[in-house]
Structures are given as structure tokens and as C-alpha cells.
Symmetry: C2
Subunit: 375 residues, 2 copies
């Protein structure tokens, strides 16, 4: 079973649980964007299939965003696909790049859905552990490349570890991929979520031929349920990607694309205006963890809305997470999920709550750790 | 390139083209369903992820529809998945059932996206030709089953041929699959579109252990752009299917699910009330074709909204279809797309237009065939 529905089952069995589990933000899409829905639906063409690659105006708006914010030139109309979320975009990328038996390098701890997608595509996920601070080790990545390797996947800001990879690291991975004739798949769903002067960098700005970039409206614009993401591919993949897109989804939901277009008009300030509140929750959690240093270590992380906390115990993380829900009514995600081989880790998400609930959730987590692990 | 975007490109280059190409209906979703959107969006939980398998109330409503209309018992909560359209449902089924190298039996002429999906899943599409009237040949299907076969796929009412398979034929295929321990994947996206007393039959009513049934809101309820379909699976596949669903899409778009729920309250009468107008277009086309019997043969077809017309020419269908757009401003889909090995066939779709436009489209098609093929 995938972990999110598993934890959802525990929560369903324990009413009143506060979730620091799922990766969602506490706000929804821009209200102004929602107000435009009725006008969009008046056009009968908008109920039929819309173009596979996405509404032309939405692709154009995203092309401008990529140029202005990410340094990516996606002009020409053959680089951008609107997908039903970044997960579908990632699967598209795999189905486009890989044959069964090919290898895809993931950095562990990895995003669990990436590992599952590689398996579903009939490929082998080659997991290269990051260092003690969850940063990529270039030499280890290079050593893992074989003749069957088709891509290296990075997620920065990172899910699950919350770390931001320095631009130099991402550039080095990107150059390594280009040099070896493989692709760099860069998942940037959390691009706006950085703290303490951390800087987001888009490797797609360096190389248009070997980079596939993934973006999402789910986090930045509070649009998780709407299923809108963007896949930016080298132009030479356009025709193959059309086949994949047509086969998997035909087109992303049109009404969601319409809301995404309006949301992009508000732009990143919509997300950035909500970031201080999320940052305060983050600070509060860090302060709480710092008071139990014999139980918890949190490696430096300045992005997304996750900590991947190392718990000083010989317990496995899965039963610990289950007990935290059932006995302390607070949900987090066990580290096994992310392919961490040793030690007990918990992913703590802090984007979903603000104010009181966040404070209470943190209290329960600390109390739970003290009672379960500290005795 | 997938055929639909290819034809769309021809059309874009020939303004004023009437499309008898894409498989869409001329109407949109129930207006009453659309009016419920604002209330749904007021609940902030509806902007976060909703359950992977779908909104519980929607799954329940579909369970009742299956019992009442299809004779399928999907109770227990572990048989129904809401997907982002039936294409995504079909891909889910393949990724769940098959390993790379496995075989899936398609009946040709097949639905092109099925063939592409089998290829993307790393499997081999084994195409078993239907008979001269596009009806399945049971002995040929049986002979095509090998140790690697995982499923037989049927589409009834059929895309592209518009034929309805008799209940006895579907039962025989279903029993064959059960007997050989493989799955029968039954695509029923066009279940409500039957004419002249043809009857739709759901093989899932016969066997809950070996049948996977696919349904769609795209045609019946005019919801193509909304991306909502249903996947009905044997209960023993539920856990594996959860993994696939979480990896491919997480959940179908929530707002679309909300509209689907309201649409199901109107029920099939919404579609059935529009069927007489579509049937009139169908009759008009059949009459027009009957006037050029030396150029066109249309095998008996009483379902969906397609004819797969056999054109008496040595031309290939692809260049013929392109000339019909460029010289006569009418779009149809060339038969090569559907895996027909020999002869020239064109798929003519009659669900998209009513009244004047349909009449004019038919005239152009007949005139085009006379001028291009008849000379």
C-alpha cells in the first residue's frame, strides 16, 4: 500500500488526529481565479477535449513564467506540456525516455512516488544515498551510471528531506548527465518554498537538450485536488511525448487549466505572501526539536515544508508513526517510505497548518516522542 | 504522432473544416451539475488531495448505477476507482496486471490508444482481426492466447467500428478468459449509445474475479474535458491498483468528480434524451452512403457514434483523409490508425454535430469521395 493512504487509514481510525503527514498547504487557489470558472464553462468547446499539450494561453503564460523566473527558454511551442499534476508528468517522462530494463537514478531519501513510477515503467530504480545532510554526492551518482541509465532525478527543494540543493550541485549533476548523454529530470514542485536566504535554481536554464523539468500548481497555488502540473521537455522529445500524453490522459482537465491560467496571473506573490506564516510554523518546530536533542536530530533544511528528522532509537519508523497517531493523535510519515536503509526517520510536514493547530501538533509530536522513544 | 492531434493540425490549416473526426458529443454536462460547483469549492478540504480511489459519495453513486443498470455488484468499497478518464483507467489496468513482455490481446480494428498503452507498458499487443462485419471471432481469440497473455480487451459498443457485440459473444469471451486464468478488460465508454434495438451487455455481471470494466463520463454526459472515468476491478486487485493510482494521478480532479456526482443524479436519461438527434444524423449518413454503393460499404453497426466505412479504392486512407480535409473541408479518421492491415477505411464520427452542420459535413464527405476516389 502507498504510505499516504495507509496513514490516512490510521487517521480515520483516530478522530481528532492532527496531520503533519501529507504534503499539502493550508490555503486554496486564488479566489479571483475561481470566480472566472462560470465564464470559462459558458464556451461549449471547453467541455470537449482541449489540446493534448494544454490550453495554448496557459502554455504561453507558463512559458513567460519560465523565462522570467527560471531562466528557461521554452519558446517555440514544442517544449511545454500541461499534465494532470507533476506525478503524471513524471510518469510521462519515464514512459517517454525508458524501455523496460532501463535504469533511473534516484537520490535517497527519494520521493516515494518516483520509486513506484520507475517500477511501474518496468525500469530499475538505482538508489544513490545522499550524504549525512541529505545533499547529493556527485561521485556516487557518477559511479552509479551504467550503459542502461537513462536519467538522474533530483528534487530541489526536496521532498522528503526539505533540503535545497546549491546551484553548483545542480549544475554539476546537469553537466554530468549531458556529458554522459542521459537526461536530468528536475522536479521543482516546491520552487517557491525556500527559507533563510536559500536560493532555488532551475537546471533547465543550463541545458535545453538533456533536461526535463517538472513543476506543479498543487503546492504553490493550493491546487492539489485540481491536478495541474507542467512538464518542460527538450524539443526533440515533443512528438514522442505527445504519444505518451494522448495515451495516459489525452489532456489535463480543462477547468483546472482555466483556474491555473488565472492563478498564474496572480503569480508567485500569491504563494510568497503565505510563506511567512509557514516559516513561523517551521521556526516553532525547529525550536521544539532543539529542546529534545537527545531524541531528535534535524539536518539543516531550508526548503519545501518538510523536515526529515532522525530519531535516536532502535525502533522502526513505521510502528513509531503508527503509535504516534493511535496514542498521541499526530500523524507523520515513516522514513522507510523514502528508501532510507538504516536508522529511524520521520518526515514532518509543516505546510498544512497555521497558528494554533500547528502549535498543538508540534506539542503532541514532541510529547509522543518523549513518551514512546525517550523511556 | 497520435492521429487526433495530426488531424487537428490539418484542420487548423484549413479554416471552416467540419469535423467528423474526434469522438465527442455535441452537448456539454448537465447545467444543474455545473451550478453546484461554487458550493463544492467553498469547502477548503476539496482543494487538497481527495481520496485516491475517488470521492466516497461518487463511488457509492456509481456502485448503485452498476447494480441497477449493468448487473454488476461492486459493493464493499474495494472495487471502484474514479480515474481521470477511461484512458487513464486502461493504463492503470495494464500497469496493474502486466509485467514487461506480457501479451495483451486486442481485437482489430482496435481503439488506437489501447494499442499505444500496451506498448508504453512494455507489453506486446497481439491483434486478432475481427470478421468482415467487425465482430469478434472466438476461435481466433482462443488461438492467440499464450502463456504470456494477461488479458483480452473488448470495446462494445465499439470504437472505431460502431458495432455492438451480442451478449452471447461477450459471455463467451468472458468465460474463455476465466477458464484460462486471464482477465477480460471490457471498455464500456459508449454503453448508452445503441440504436435499432441493439442491447448493451456488461460482462462484469457474469464474473467478478476476472473482469475489469471501464466506464467514462466523457461521452454520455458530455464531460470529455473534465476527465472522469471509472475502473471496476476484482476486489483482489484493490491494493495493487491503489499503488498504481497513487503513482499515476494520486486522485482524479476533485471538481470534476463533484460535477460527475451531480450528473449521475440526472442519470442516463440525460444521455438518452439526446440520442434521437444523434440517431437522426446517423440515419442521414447511412442514407447518403447508400447512394454511392460503388464507392463505400458500411458494415452493420448499431452503436457508439461511429461508422468504419470501407472505401473501394487502392488509395491509402491516410492521404485520402488528408485530402478530404484540405480539398473538401471535412475531417474523418484514417483506418490505418486502428490496425487494419488491408483496404482503405475511414472512421466517421456522428456524435459531434446536429442539424445543419451534420448535413453539410455529410455532403462534403460524399462529394469528396466522389471527386477523389470516384474518378
Amino acid at each position: 500500500m502507498p504510505i499516504i493512504p495507509t496513514v490516512a487509514d490510521w487517521i480515520a481510525g483516530t478522530p481528532g488526529t492532527i496531520s503533519l503527514g501529507q504534503g499539502v498547504v493550508h490555503y486554496g487557489p486564488p479566489p479571483a481565479a475561481l470566480r472566472k470558472i462560470p465564464a470559462f464553462l459558458k464556451n461549449s468547446a471547453h467541455h470537449k477535449y482541449v489540446p493534448d499539450a494544454g490550453l495554448p494561453r496557459l502554455r504561453k503564460a507558463f512559458e513567460e513564467k519560465l523565462r522570467a523566473e527560471n531562466g528557461i527558454d521554452a519558446s517555440g511551442g514544442r517544449r511545454i506540456f500541461v499534465t494532470a499534476g507533476a506525478n503524471q508528468g513524471f510518469l510521462n517522462a519515464l514512459l517517454c525516455l525508458c524501455d523496460p530494463g532501463d535504469e533511473v537514478i534516484l537520490l535517497s531519501p527519494y520521493y516515494f512516488n518516483h520509486e513506484m513510477a520507475v517500477g511501474l515503467a518496468g525500469c530499475r530504480a538505482v538508489c544513490v544515498p545522499t550524504d549525512g545532510n541529505y545533499q547529493p554526492r556527485l561521485a556516487a551518482i557518477e559511479a552509479a551510471i551504467t550503459a542502461r541509465t537513462r536519467a538522474v532525478v533530483t528534487v530541489s527543494p526536496n521532498n522528503p528531506a526539505g533540503v535545497v540543493y546549491p546551484p553548483d550541485t545542480l549544475r554539476a549533476i546537469n553537466r554530468l548527465c549531458a556529458g554522459r548523454g542521459i537526461y536530468h529530470v528536475s522536479d521543482e514542485a516546491y520552487e517557491y518554498f525556500t527559507y533563510d536566504e536559500a536560493t532555488h535554481y532551475s537546471p533547465g536554464s543550463l541545458d535545453a537538450e538533456h533536461t526535463i523539468s517538472l513543476f506543479s500548481m498543487s503546492k504553490s497555488y493550493g491546487m492539489a485536488s485540481w491536478r495541474v502540473g507542467f512538464l518542460v521537455v527538450p524539443e526533440h522529445l515533443f512528438d514522442d511525448m505527445m504519444k505518451v500524453q494522448d495515451t495516459v490522459i489525452i489532456c489535463a482537465p480543462a477547468v483546472s487549466q482555466a483556474v491555473a491560467l488565472e492563478a498564474l496571473k496572480e503569480g508567485r506573490r500569491y504563494c510568497l505572501s503565505r510563506l511567512p506564516a509557514i516559516a513561523r510554523v517551521r521556526e516553532g518546530m525547529l525550536a521544539a526539536f532543539s529542546r529534545i536533542p537527545d531524541l531528535v536530530t534535524v539536518p539543516p533544511s531550508r526548503g519545501a515544508f518538510y523536515f526529515l528528522a532522525k530519531i535516536h532509537t532502535s525502533m522502526d519508523a513505521l510502528p513509531l508513526a503508527e503509535r504516534l497517531v493511535r496514542e498521541h493523535k499526530v500523524a507523520v510519515i515513516p522514513g522507510e517510505t523514502f528508501g532510507i536503509g538504516k536508522g529511524c526517520s520521520l518526515r514532518v510536514s509543516y505546510g498544512n497548518l497555521s497558528g494554533e493547530a500547528a502549535l498543538e501538533g508540534t506539542k503532541r509530536l514532541v510529547r509522543g516522542l518523549i513518551e514512546i522513544v525517550g523511556r
